[in-house]
């Protein structure tokens, strides 16, 4: 079990990174050209989710090409819709998490991910996920769990994913 001191350390580190990331967060919001981005996700957030999806959905996404690109884009849209449906408090927390992940020093220090999200390979992203999944800090484990639920929920909530798992979908009603 992590000690109390380790929790505090993670909290301080997280807090400092969050404060710094906040500056970039407001800039991130401005990146979105008017109307081009669905409500909920900024361009920066979209690029993070687009990098997470191929790692979390490895084996489930189409292997390559246009089909893969579309499937990732659809999943990113689905995550945006899911976040927009969460409580205001949860949306704020996720906003902070994405701000943290989008802030290069925090990405390197906390996520141990050197390349930026667009350049990261699925293997590098998977290593980041694995690190947080088994982190000694509960905060990072819960952040992993949140990303896990968002991406998998968006993917399997979409009827396009059902055939591959043998789910016929809900019955037709008269």
């Amino acid at each position: 079990m992590p000690t109390r001191r380790q929790f505090i350390k993670a909290g301080l580190l997280g807090g400092a990174a969050l404060a710094a990331a906040g500056l970039f967060w407001s800039r991130g919001l401005k990146e979105a050209p008017g109307g081009a981005v669905p409500p909920g996700l900024t361009l920066s957030q979209r690029s993070i989710v687009a990098a997470l999806a191929p790692a979390i959905l490895a084996g489930a996404l189409p292997a390559s090409g246009e089909a893969r690109r579309l499937a990732v884009a659809r999943t990113v849209d689905g995550v945006g819709v899911a976040i927009a449906g969460l409580s205001a408090a949860a949306q704020k927390e996720l906003g902070e998490l994405f701000a943290l992940l989008g802030f290069a020093p925090a990405r390197v220090l906390l996520a141990r991910l050197w390349p930026d999200w667009e350049a990261a390979t699925p293997a590098q992203v998977a290593a980041f996920l694995q690190g947080w999944r088994f982190s000694r800090f509960a905060l990072l484990r819960s952040a992993y769990a949140g990303l896990h639920d968002l991406v998998l929920g968006a993917w399997y909530g979409n009827p396009d994913a059902w055939e591959a798992i043998g789910y016929p979908g809900p019955p037709e009603m008269p």
Binding site: M1, A55, I56, L57, A58, G59, A60, G78, A82, A84, G85, L86, S87, A88, A89, A90, Q91, A126, L129, R133, F134, A138, R141, S142, Y144, A145, G146, H148, D149, V151, L152, G153, W155, Y156, G157, N158, A161, W162, A164, I165, G166, Y167, P170, P171, M173, P174
Partner: protein
């Protein structure tokens, strides 16, 4: 055949329904009784109090959705019908809580499992909390009445394969199993109870007591967040509500104020204590919002090698109380065994891991059996439950630290479920824990489970039952409410939901809420009208 929608018909017939998301100015209403919450407690109270001739207003934070809207899709149902999009979490995010937020409350989305409050639970309440009046015999007429009203009876259709496997496992190991009772009428056995019943077969509050109350002249206000009770001189004068935007996330700048003689609180075991906390209700013993229970629930998935189709058919039909009945109620934590419905989003998000491992398990989706163990919390000093707190924005947050006492039960429940699943013919068993890569034999499972670290987030713990926080007790030092649900420090406030329970129930709680609500609302009707209360059924 077209399915009738009793809500749309009722609105067409002139029911008094106010959609607060459409308010364009502040508004005020007057009533004899304002009921906060339209779920199991609020629904029952609404029918009884309306039939008693009282002017009733029911307030609901969530939307009014009905069978026409229920399309059996998780992507619709979770954001529309559940608290926080079915992603409500405890403070440390270790437990995901499924709770309804819509007209009908959790009864609109529950899995219809119906149990009277277990005798062992009532005996514990009598002994530990002095609730002498809550005996099996004294409550029997109330449970009889709600069983008639909501058509609660044994489900005599063959259980689906997911449930049949629990039965088969029990038979194989000599673990007693039993069929459940369900509150359904003309059930199509579709399996989508958790997304709102598309055929109106489920006898939820949405299609029973609320229509009865509305037809009797009650008013329903939905999309209204009950912000606070205006208190003066030991009484509540008004309920102040905030209108919510149509999507239900952000507030609108409009208030709706309800002045009433009496207030019935039925916002659920997180919502009701939170409303009282926001109202600064007197709480001299500092008990309000404390002792909140969840039936912390563990999950095991089994690959069967044949079709299980856990998405089809009544979600819950078979259960076992063996691991409750075979342990002393005040001893190490016991658990009830059930199975969940298996739908893509619920299953994929509950299942641990990601990437190829996760995908390979999802490929077995239709061949997977899943089992649940619901831990009976609150019966031991080392199981004090959680506490409801308020965030800066006034919304509630449940802090529920999982104690070592509960963790002990978590590990035992994993061992039990793995043993049962292998006895039912499982080829491979997965405990939902980040470090579990699956076990091919019981011996491997026993060895592996013994090593799984008991840590938040690593072990997946979920809940669909929130109870306590305004616990009843005979002694005012032990409970903020008395045995009739009356909030001790406020002369005209009655709590009428699962927050009354001084411990968890040890069974799916809906019928316990119905029975107590019927009893307490009937008493309240008599007090307010000075006439005998009308019979519920």
């Amino acid at each position: 055949m077209t399915i009738r929608d009793p809500i749309l018909e009722g609105i067409g017939a002139g029911w008094q329904v106010i959609d607060a998301s459409k308010l364009e100015a502040d508004r005020e209403l007057e009533a004899d009784v304002a009921i906060v919450g339209s779920g199991a407690g609020g629904g029952i109270a609404a029918e009884i109090l309306t039939k008693a001739g009282l002017k009733v207003v029911v307030v609901e934070e969530g939307p009014l959705k009905s069978s026409t809207d229920f399309r059996m899709r998780e992507s619709d149902a979770y954001p529309q019908l559940y608290q926080e999009s079915a992603a409500r979490k405890t403070k440390d995010k270790a437990i995901n809580v499924l709770q309804g937020r819509c007209v009908g409350g959790s009864t609109t989305v529950n899995w219809t499992s119906s149990f009277r409050t277990p005798p062992t639970t009532l005996a514990h309440w009598q002994r530990e909390y002095g609730l002498k009046e809550l005996s099996v015999e004294a409550l029997a007429p109330w449970f009889d009445a709600v069983e008639r009203r909501l058509n609660i009876r044994y489900w005599d259709v063959s259980p689906n394969e997911n449930n049949a496997l629990l039965r088969q496992a029990g038979w194989a190991l000599g673990v007693p199993v039993a069929p459940m009772r369900r509150n359904v009428k003309g059930c199509w056995n579709l399996g989508y109870c958790g997304m709102g019943c598309p055929t109106n077969a489920k006898q939820s509050m949405l299609v029973t007591t609320l229509p009865a109350a509305l037809a009797g002249g009650a008013t329903l206000v939905h999309h209204l967040r009950a912000e606070r009770l205006a208190l003066r001189g030991g009484r509540a004068e008004a309920l102040e509500g905030t209108a919510m935007q149509a999507a239900g996330i952000q507030p609108l700048p409009y208030r709706l104020r309800i002045r009433a003689r009496h207030f019935v609180l039925a916002a659920g075991a997180i919502g009701t204590p939170a409303l009282l906390l926001r109202s600064h209700a007197p709480d001299p013993q500092r008990l309000l919002g404390r002792r909140t229970f969840l039936h912390p629930t563990t999950v095991a998935a089994a690959l069967m090698g044949h079709a299980v189709k856990g998405y089809a058919g009544a979600p819950q039909a078979i259960y076992s109380d063996h691991f409750l009945d075979s342990v002393p109620v005040g001893g190490p934590i016991g658990y009830k065994l059930e199975v969940p419905p298996i739908h893509p989003v619920l299953f994929a998000t509950t299942l641990h891991g990601y990437g190829e491992m996760h995908r390979n398990l999802m490929a077995e989706f239709a061949n997977t059996h899943a089992m649940l163990a619901l831990l009976r919390d609150g019966f031991h000093p080392d199981s004090p439950g959680g506490s409801v707190q308020l965030r800066d924005d006034g919304t509630p947050l449940l802090d529920y630290p999982i104690t070592d006492f509960v963790w002990d039960g978590v590990r035992r429940s994993w061992l039990t479920m793995a043993e049962l699943q292998f006895a039912a013919g499982a080829r491979r068993v997965y405990i939902v824990h980040e470090q579990c890569g699956g076990y091919a034999s019981l011996a491997a499972a026993q060895a592996g489970i013994a090593q799984l670290p008991l840590q938040p987030q690593l072990a997946r713990v979920v809940s669909a039952h929130v109870m306590g926080g305004c616990g009843m007790a005979a002694d005012e030092r032990r409970g903020v409410t008395d045995v009739w649900g009356r909030y001790r420090q406020l002369g005209n406030v009655t709590v009428c939901d699962g927050s009354l329970f001084p411990t968890s129930i040890g069974a799916n709680p809906q019928q316990s809420v119905y029975g107590l609500a019927a009893r307490n609302a009937s008493r309240l009707a008599e007090e307010l009208t000075a006439r005998p209360a009308p019979a519920l059924a």
